[in-house]
Each structure stands twice: as structure tokens, then as C-alpha cells.
């Protein structure tokens, strides 16, 4: 099976369960949004997939190969991490050259080309780069590696708006020419909402939902109007959150939209991905 399969993965840090029996798959050829609040377990799971830390139980399979301590998955997956793990004393161009030796699928020319687009000075040492340019270096490496699975953990950390746009543009162009699985773990949901096809939402170490963005957009809506009417309409619905303003109320509903009662003062509107994310993670479950 061409996918990253996460099977019953549990990870604890002392008394805290960072991941609790997590099971799902990242299928081949899709762009995923891997979303969750701070401390939800995103980075822990990414680190387990990338063999940086170990699961207490469960396993990760990449194209049916165990990801743990297995050099056979070396050319299959790359994880751009939020943390700075590169040799900070080396120049950017030297880091590119070493990565070119480490990976058969690294395109050195493309790396220098992307670095040029971002005005990344390849003669500078990694430690001399600003936080934004350190992120640019890391995402340049990820974009230049032609592996089937690429994970971006907070890829636009410290990037200005222009550079963020450039990154998303390069990512989509790259995906059009070379379809592969791209997983973006980020807090900037609205920015990636138009890019991602499928969402995996994780909260408190558990997967809250995994679905297509379009399906989620169809499933989630908000009802606005007088509090009593909103409550009456929502009585038999799956409410994931409320906002109140005086006598007025907004209910955030997950499920099939039923027609509004005749002559009511209610109005319905679509819910964006960020609002859906916020309300789901506030509630802590569906």
C-alpha cells in the first residue's frame, strides 16, 4: 500500500499522553493539512514518523516498510522540522552539497535556483541566517528533494507575507509537475486552506477527524439569529460551538444542513476551515 500508515501509536512523556492509540493513513499523491493546537501531538507524531523518537507502542509503515530504524525508507520520506537540526557552522551551499550526497533524489541545481528566488545567501553560515531565512533554507531543501513523502512542520515560521506566497506558489507548481504526498503541519490554517485536499485534525493526542476539505466545508455551517430560535433549530443537531452577543447567538453545526423554519429570523452561512478547527478543538471532540 502506497501510504504512511500510522497504527495504534501511543507515546507518553512521564504522566502525559502525547499520543493515545492514534491510527490513520496519509495516502499517496495528496496534500494534507495536519492541524492541531499547541501540544496536540503533531510534532510528536511527525518525530515518530521521521524516526527521531520512538513510539511506546504501535508502528508506522511507509509503503508497507517499518519506519523505525530502517534505511530502506531513507529515499521515501523527508521531514522539514521546526527545530534547527542542521550543522549551524556550515555554509548554506556546503549544507546543500552534503544533503546532495546523503540523498540520491536531491536536486542540487533546483536547490540553488529556489535559494535564488528567496534571495537566500548561500555563502552564509546557517547560524548567521535570520530565523526566517533558516526556515527558507529548510523548506528549500524539502522542495528540492524528490522523495514520495514530504512533511513540512511549520514551514513558514518567521517568513514574511511575500516569502510565504512564494513558498505556496513553489509548492503547488512542484506538486503539479511531481505528484507526491505533502503533509503540512501548521497553525496558519487559512493560508493553507486553499492548498490542502484533506485534513487530519489532532487534539490532546487523539485524531478528531480526517476528511476532505470540501466535505468538511459542506458539513460545517453556522446558524445566526435570536438565541431561542437558534436553540430550537439546533436541538437535534451536532453543535460544535456557540458564540453569543446579547440576545443573538451563533451556533456552529457539523452535519447535513436542514432547511431553516419558515418565517424565522435565522440565517445560515458556510463555516471556514479555521473556524471549524477552532470550534472543534475548543469542544475537544465531535
Amino acid at each position: 500500500m502506497n501510504a504512511i500508515q500510522i497504527k495504534n501509536v501511543t507515546k507518553r512523556y512521564k504522566n502525559v499522553a502525547a499520543l493515545h492509540d492514534v491510527s490513520f493513513s496519509f495516502e499517496s499523491g495528496k496534500i494534507y493539512g495536519f492541524l492541531g493546537r499547541n501540544g496536540a501531538g503533531k510534532s510528536t507524531l511527525i518525530n515518530i514518523i521521521a524516526n527521531r523518537i520512538f513510539a511506546d507502542s504501535g508502528e508506522i509503515l511507509i509503503d508497507d516498510l517499518p519506519a523505525k530504524e530502517n534505511i530502506k525508507v531513507h529515499e521515501k520520506i523527508f521531514c522539514m522540522s521546526e527545530a534547527d537540526l542542521y550543522d549551524a557552522g556550515l555554509k548554506v551551499k556546503d549544507l546543500f552539497k552534503w544533503i546532495n550526497r546523503f540523498y540520491d533524489s536531491f536536486d542540487l541545481d533546483k536547490a540553488f535556483e529556489i535559494a535564488g528566488k528567496f534571495n537566500l545567501d548561500t555563502n552564509k553560515k546557517f547560524k548567521a541566517l535570520s530565523k526566517g531565512y533558516q526556515s527558507i533554507f529548510k523548506l528549500t531543501v524539502a522542495l528540492s528533494l524528490m522523495v514520495p513523502y514530504v512533511i513540512f512542520d511549520e514551514p513558514v515560521l518567521g517568513l514574511d507575507a511575500n516569502h510565504r506566497e512564494l513558498f505556496y506558489d513553489l509548492l503547488l507548481k512542484d506538486f503539479q509537475h511531481n505528484e507526491r504526498t505533502i503533509i503540512i503541519a501548521t497553525h496558519l490554517i487559512e493560508e493553507v486552506a486553499n492548498i490542502i485536499e484533506e485534513v487530519v485534525l489532532i487534539d490532546q493526542g487523539k485524531v478528531l477527524l480526517q476528511d476532505h476539505v470540501s466535505t468538511l466545508m459542506e458539513m460545517g455551517y453556522s446558524i445566526y439569529g435570536p438565541a431561542k430560535e437558534v436553540d430550537a433549530y439546533c436541538a437535534d443537531k451536532n453543535i460544535i460551538g456557540y458564540d453569543e452577543l446579547g440576545n443573538l447567538k451563533i451556533a456552529y453545526v457539523l452535519g447535513e444542513k436542514t432547511p431553516l423554519p419558515k418565517n424565522s429570523n435565522l440565517s445560515a452561512s458556510a463555516m471556514n476551515l479555521q473556524k471549524l478547527f477552532v470550534k472543534l478543538t475548543e469542544k475537544g471532540g465531535i
Binding site: N47, A50, N51, R52, I53, F54, E69, N70, I71, V73, H74, I77, F78, C79, S81, L85, Y86, D87, A88, L90, W98, I99, R101, F102, Y103, D104
Partner: protein, 240 residues
């Protein structure tokens, strides 16, 4: 195998350039001190230094201690397994130790040739009879030290700062305990036989002859023990 070769190359080549910086600084300092003392004393006779390998031991020790953290992060980021990281690090230790042992052996013997008052670490213990054994002994000594400090750094990383301090205190207590055991518990005969065993392991035979293979085998065994311990820990090491 190609991946491992790349990791080994990375480890060796990124450490290689620092050797020459180290030697340049070391010999510059020796020259400077010699000039200052010689000029101030008005004579260069009887001036000099001994056992320059001690500086290399300090450098090698730092290399062993630093061999873990930065390189582990860099290589794990680039998808290498812990087994490969360990192999690459060990290869780097051997590569650097081999070169530095070679330089120190050559320099020690050349200086002694021109200035018989100079004594290198190996020759001070075993004499100047065998240059190859001199290199081999130094090489194994450097590798052993690298492996020991690498192991210690892995233990500190694994157990954390507080537990490491407790372990350090416990190790200090153990040393005092061993001294007390030797002094008050063991019989003089037992102590003498242990000292004899230790001396043999260092190549000093009871009949007064020197066996150069024994210290080499002892150091190789110690390097293997520390290396095995390091591998056992790095297999379970997580990125922090």
C-alpha cells in the same frame, strides 16, 4: 552502503580541518613560549617541552564529547538510522585518531632525534624501539578516550542533567570505596596480584621485560567495551 559512506565522509571531513588548526595553535604556542623563555633567560639550552600528546588527548577528549549532539541531530534530520550514525561517528574517531597518532608519533620521534632530551608519551613508558607500535598504541589510546567520552555524553543525554549529577557523585563515591577496599579490606597478597595483573595488561611483565602487544590488546578491549556501551545506548536515543 552508499548512504553510510556519505555519513562517514560527512563526519570525517567536517572534523578534519580542525586537526590542522589544533596543531598550528599547539606548535605556535610551544614556539612562542620557547622564544619568550629563551630570550628572557638569554639561552636556548635545556629549553623544551615533553609529552605533547597530552594536548592531543585534550583535543580528542573534546572531539569525543562533542561527537554526539551536533552530528546526531544533523544525521537524524537527514534520515540516517542510529546504527549508521554510530558507525559514522566511530569511523570519524578512528580516522581522526589515526591521523593525530601518526602526526604525534612522527613529531615525537623527529624531535627526539634532534633533541634527545625530549620524551614523547609512548617513549617515556615503552621506549623508542618500535615506531609502528608507538603509532598503534597512541591510536588506540585516542580511540579509547573518544569512545569513553562519547559513552559519557550519551549517558548524560539519556538520563538528564540531575540524574547525571547524582551519577557523578556516585562515581566519586565508588572511587573512594574502591580505595578503601584496597586499603582496608583486601589482603596485601590480593592487592599485589591485582597490581601485577594491571602491570601485565600495560605490558610490564614480572621478569622485567616489556610486551608491547599487551597494552595494545588492553586498549583495544577497552575501546570495544566503551564502543559497545555507546551502541547499546544510542540505539534507544531520541532526539531532544
Amino acid at each position: 552502503m552508499k548512504k553510510l559512506k556519505a555519513a562517514v565522509q560527512y563526519e570525517c571531513m567536517t572534523s578534519f580541518k580542525f586537526i590542522w588548526i589544533f596543531y598550528a595553535i599547539q606548535y605556535a604556542v610551544v614556539l612562542l613560549i620557547t622564544l619568550i623563555v629563551g630570550i628572557s633567560m638569554g639561552t636556548f639550552e635545556n629549553l623544551g617541552t615533553d609529552v605533547l600528546e597530552m594536548n592531543t588527548l585534550i583535543y580528542i577528549g573534546i572531539l569525543g564529547a562533542l561527537g554526539f549532539k551536533e552530528d546526531f541531530k544533523m544525521l537524524i534530520q537527514n534520515g540516517f538510522t542510529r546504527r549508521q550514525i554510530f558507525t559514522a561517528t566511530l569511523s570519524m574517531f578512528c580516522f581522526i585518531s589515526g591521523i593525530m597518532a601518526f602526526v604525534d608519533t612522527v613529531v615525537g620521534n623527529v624531535i627526539h632525534h634532534f633533541n634527545s632530551g625530549y620524551s614523547s608519551l609512548y617513549s617515556g613508558i615503552y621506549g623508542y624501539d618500535n615506531i609502528f607500535m608507538n603509532w598503534l598504541w597512541l591510536f588506540l589510546l585516542y580511540v579509547t578516550l573518544c569512545n569513553l567520552l562519547y559513552l559519557l555524553m550519551l549517558i548524560i543525554n539519556k538520563v538528564g542533567k540531575t540524574a547525571s549529577i547524582y551519577l557523578g557523585v556516585a562515581a566519586g563515591g565508588m572511587v573512594l570505596l574502591i580505595i578503601a577496599v584496597f586499603k582496608y579490606v583486601l589482603s596485601a597478597e590480593a592487592v599485589a596480584s591485582m597490581i601485577s595483573f594491571f602491570m601485565k595488561s600495560m605490558g610490564f611483565m614480572p621478569d622485567g621485560t616489556i610486551n608491547c602487544m599487551f597494552p595494545v590488546l588492553t586498549l583495544a578491549a577497552l575501546a570495544a567495551i566503551f564502543g559497545t556501551g555507546s551502541y547499546a545506548i544510542i540505539r534507544h536515543t531520541e532526539l531532544k
